[in-house]
């Protein structure tokens, strides 16, 4: 099957890009791995006893706009291989065990972000989750992850996910944010002022979350972090401590917290596998979350006819993703039709970019995070590779992520390094961007053998 525009990822950026393209009369296909469109921020409920939140209502409207514009939405569908052709891009799709091919003249990659997972002692115990997973379970299914939940890490999602869980009546014992936003903000007054300019809604949301936690009796501490998870078969508690500016634990401040679940969140890593597989030019930008594609103002990547938008181009949140999605959609339309691109909402773009810079200033992970793992800590849980094994490989001369991987098997399991490689990157030298290879999702041999 073929189309003018294929959009991968049905979050804020992808929904908006697809809608713009379809409204311009182009045949547009939007694919997303999840069962429902919306992405993480606008995650739609599957079956939940709670009424939809305002964010979910807003998401519902975005999804309906895409359908109304004539976008063909294919959920539960992942891209497992892709190749750039002179006249477009071929995507190989998998939906369950059913494989299909999609030829498009232009591609918008809007694959969002993964949560950064930092290995720390005890992180593989049942009961340790990411805040995003906690939020997804609660938003999508109304399921709380525990009865007494500790939140620790850094980034707005930590606060938002904790406040969301409090709404369900779950007890959140503490929320520990490693950054001290007020102090860090004071160090960068202009960036802070600019970043917060006309961000009333975000500030209200943040303050609202803090207020809800306060009402529930949950302490919100900044400059604190979780050092290790305690428990035999599952989480029974955590050791927490004050952390300094580099996120290193401050000696003598450790104490034990009793909890049955831990939600960690260390900001986000752009999900760039598809872009790297296609061979888009990448740049390492820690303040944007790591490796990101180099994009023009139109969100065009280095590859002809391939655009990228949203968090996969650098962490910036749903507001920026909507604008970037619109730009990418306009760019895709101009690319296919050869007409001048339509007008973009540049004032909103500038405002959201300032916020993105502030986010990067405040929430970029600091070196102390990589030091939490002790020699015995498993860093690659798929292949059960410890920190000591990785350190030994680095000491023996494995200098790049690729060579650490080859020698230790770290990153070779089912997650294909999505979880562990950001952590390994901090142990080995960054080197070139890690190679992305097919299959981006595991695909059964039988299915490939029978339909390629």
């Amino acid at each position: 099957m073929s189309c003018d525009v294929a959009v991968v990822g049905a979050g804020a950026a992808g929904l908006r890009a697809a809608t713009v393209a379809a409204r311009a009369g182009l045949s547009t296909v939007l694919v997303d791995s999840y069962e429902r469109a919306g992405g993480q921020f606008y995650r739609q409920p599957a079956s939940t006893p709670y009424p939809p939140s305002p964010t979910q209502v807003e998401g519902r409207e975005l999804i309906e706009a895409a359908y109304a514009a004539g976008v063909e939405v294919r959920t539960g569908t992942s891209v497992w291989d892709a190749a750039a052709r002179p006249d477009g891009v071929t995507l190989w799709l998998t939906a369950g065990d059913r494989l299909s091919t999609l030829e498009c003249r232009t591609l918008v990659v809007a694959t969002g972000a993964h949560e950064r997972v930092a290995p720390f002692p005890g992180w593989t115990l049942p009961g340790v989750h990411t805040a995003g997973a906690v939020q997804a379970l609660h938003k999508g299914h109304g399921v709380p992850v525990g009865e007494r939940v500790l939140f620790a890490g850094s980034g707005p999602l930590l606060l938002v996910a904790a406040a969301g869980l409090v709404e369900t009546g779950t007890r959140v014992v503490e929320v520990l944010e490693a950054t001290r936003p007020v102090r860090a903000g004071a160090r960068h007054p202009w960036a802070t002022a600019a970043g917060l300019w006309r961000q009333g809604e975000r500030l209200r949301e943040g303050l609202g979350g803090a207020v809800r936690l306060r009402r529930a009796g949950t302490p919100l501490r900044t400059g604190w972090g979780s050092v290790r998870a305690l428990g035999g078969d599952r989480v029974e508690g955590a050791v927490v401590s004050r952390v300094d500016r580099d996120w290193r634990p401050v000696a003598g401040t450790e104490r034990t917290v009793s909890c049955d679940a831990i939600a960690t969140h260390y900001s986000l890593v752009p999900a760039t596998e598809l872009l790297r597989l296609l061979g888009a030019r990448m740049a390492h930008r820690p303040e944007l979350g790591g490796w990101v594609p180099t994009v023009a103002a139109s969100m065009a990547t280095s590859l002809p006819g391939v655009f990228a938008a949203g968090d996969c181009t650098g962490i910036g949140g749903a507001g920026l993703s909507l604008v970037e999605g619109e730009l990418a959609g306009l760019g895709a339309v101009a690319y296919v039709t050869g007409r001048e691109p339509g007008r973009a909402p540049l004032a909103t773009l500038r405002r959201e970019r300032r916020f993105q810079r502030l986010y990067g200033t405040l929430f970029t992970p600091q070196p102390g995070l990589a030091e939490l793992a002790t020699p015995e800590t498993v860093v690659c849980r798929c292949e059960r590779v410890t920190r000591a094994t990785v350190d030994a490989a680095v000491a023996a001369g494995a200098r790049t992520v690729q060579s650490v991987k080859a020698v230790t098997r770290c990153g070779m399991g089912p997650c294909q390094g999505r979880i562990c490689l950001p952590a390994i990157t901090r142990l080995a030298d960054a080197g070139p961007p890690p190679e992305a290879r097919a299959p981006l999702e595991p695909v059964p041999f039988e299915a490939v053998a029978s339909c390629g």
Binding site: D81, A83, T90, W92, G279, E383, G397, A398, R399, T400, Q402, S403, A406, V407, R409, M412, G413, P414, Q416, R437, A438, P439, P442, V443, P444, F445, E446, V448, A449, G452
Partner: protein, 371 residues
């Protein structure tokens, strides 16, 4: 920086490192120049097959020597290279193919290699997990496979322990000759210029050997070929043998960790590109036609290496005429990992002027000099 050595080895892969090991053990002062931080190319990007069957006679003898050396090296160093003599099974789709394998089996027996020819019924009985489409197979019980990454690093570390000096991140730019005799080489390493004076050079840089050799007027017919591989998710034991079908151009083995590795497609597109194409993935997925149990498993990863093909798919080993002190060891055409230790020992013997344990005159690079 200026350094001197009795032998400079260009290329720190399996062949260069095995040569360095056996040379250092013979008292030579060896420097190995490696472009990357360690072995990263064909030495570690292969299926890890260690087999003597289904080979040309010279390679068969080298492989038999290599199998003994692989076992010996693993024992000596105590490193687990996941070496397993689970047998090699070459399956035949048709009766004529099986007849040809039977003829080969006779020749192999003459060289002291025991193989068995199985007909359809015997194959069903001995390997019921394989598809029933095959007319039969040839089986060699002493063949097997190892983990090429662990095995190659083991040889690198053994060479270092024997006294070979490794210069990594070193890109060799010039081979220095004087009156038809090797003087040394020049390289760049991290912005520095290295000059190495050495009366003997061993050139074992895989498909990258020919470009540098051409600068001293030695023409080596090497063609880069992409060797694409699929890796399945981990699975319980499915097959002990390394199985291959020449007709289907698919081979497979199950690694110690449980993943099934599938290879067999060699793409010659005139590049060193190691990106696996969709056509290669689709071809290799046909491994389910050999091992039906693979069908329900997922393809987890793909990767590729670059092989150095020669016109006859046999290595180039020896000193090209007119360039004294220059030993070429390249063009392994996908056989370098298995043969590596025996090739390394042969290089040491050639450099030292000792009689070679295996007669390698058939591999002399001059056989293509007229081309």
């Amino acid at each position: 920086m200026r350094l001197t050595a009795s032998v400079a080895v260009v290329g720190g892969g399996i062949v260069g490192s095995a040569a360095a090991l056996f040379l250092a053990e013979r008292g030579e002062d060896v420097i190995v120049l490696e472009r990357a931080g360690g072995p990263t190319q064909a030495s570690v990007r292969n299926a890890g097959g260690v087999r003597a069957q289904c080979r040309n006679r010279t390679e068969r003898r080298l492989a038999l020597a290599s199998i003994a050396l692989w076992r010996d090296l693993a024992d000596r160093t105590g490193v687990d290279i996941e070496y397993r003599q689970g047998g090699n099974l070459r399956v035949a789709l048709t009766e004529p193919t099986l007849d040809a394998l039977a003829t080969e089996s006779v020749e192999e027996a003459q060289d002291g290699l025991a193989t068995e020819v199985w007909d359809r019924a015997e194959l069903r009985r001995r390997a019921p997990y394989l598809s029933d489409r095959f007319a039969g197979a040839k089986y060699c019980a002493t063949d097997g496979h190892a983990n090429p990454i662990l095995a190659t690093w083991m040889v690198v570390n053994a060479a270092k322990a024997a006294g070979a000096r490794y210069l990594t991140g070193a890109d060799v730019t010039h081979l220095d000759l004087d009156a038809g005799r090797v003087r040394g080489l020049r390289a760049t390493a991290g912005g520095d210029i290295l000059r190495i004076e050495a009366p003997t050079l061993v050139h074992a840089a895989g498909p990258w050997t020919s470009a540098l050799a051409a600068t001293i007027g030695v023409r080596l017919p090497l063609t880069p070929a992409r060797n694409a591989m699929l890796v399945s998710q981990g699975a319980p034991p499915l097959l002990p043998e390394f199985v291959s079908s020449h007709e289907m151009k698919v081979y497979l083995r199950q690694a110690k960790a449980g993943q099934v590795h599938v290879g067999g497609v060699f793409t010659v597109d005139g590049t060193f590109d190691q990106r696996v194409t969709h056509a290669e993935i689709a071809h290799l997925a046909r491994a389910v036609e050999i091992l039906p149990g693979l069908g329900r498993l997922s393809i987890l990863r793909t990767w590729a290496g670059t092989l150095d093909l020669t016109p006859d798919h046999l290595p180039l080993l020896g000193t090209p005429s007119g360039v004294d002190g220059y030993v070429v060891a390249a063009g392994f055409s996908g056989h370098g990992f298995c043969l590596g230790p025996a090739i390394g020992r042969t290089i040491a013997e050639l450099v030292r002027g000792e009689p070679t344990g295996v007669d390698v005159t058939a591999l002399h690079p001059d056989r293509f000099a007229a081309c």
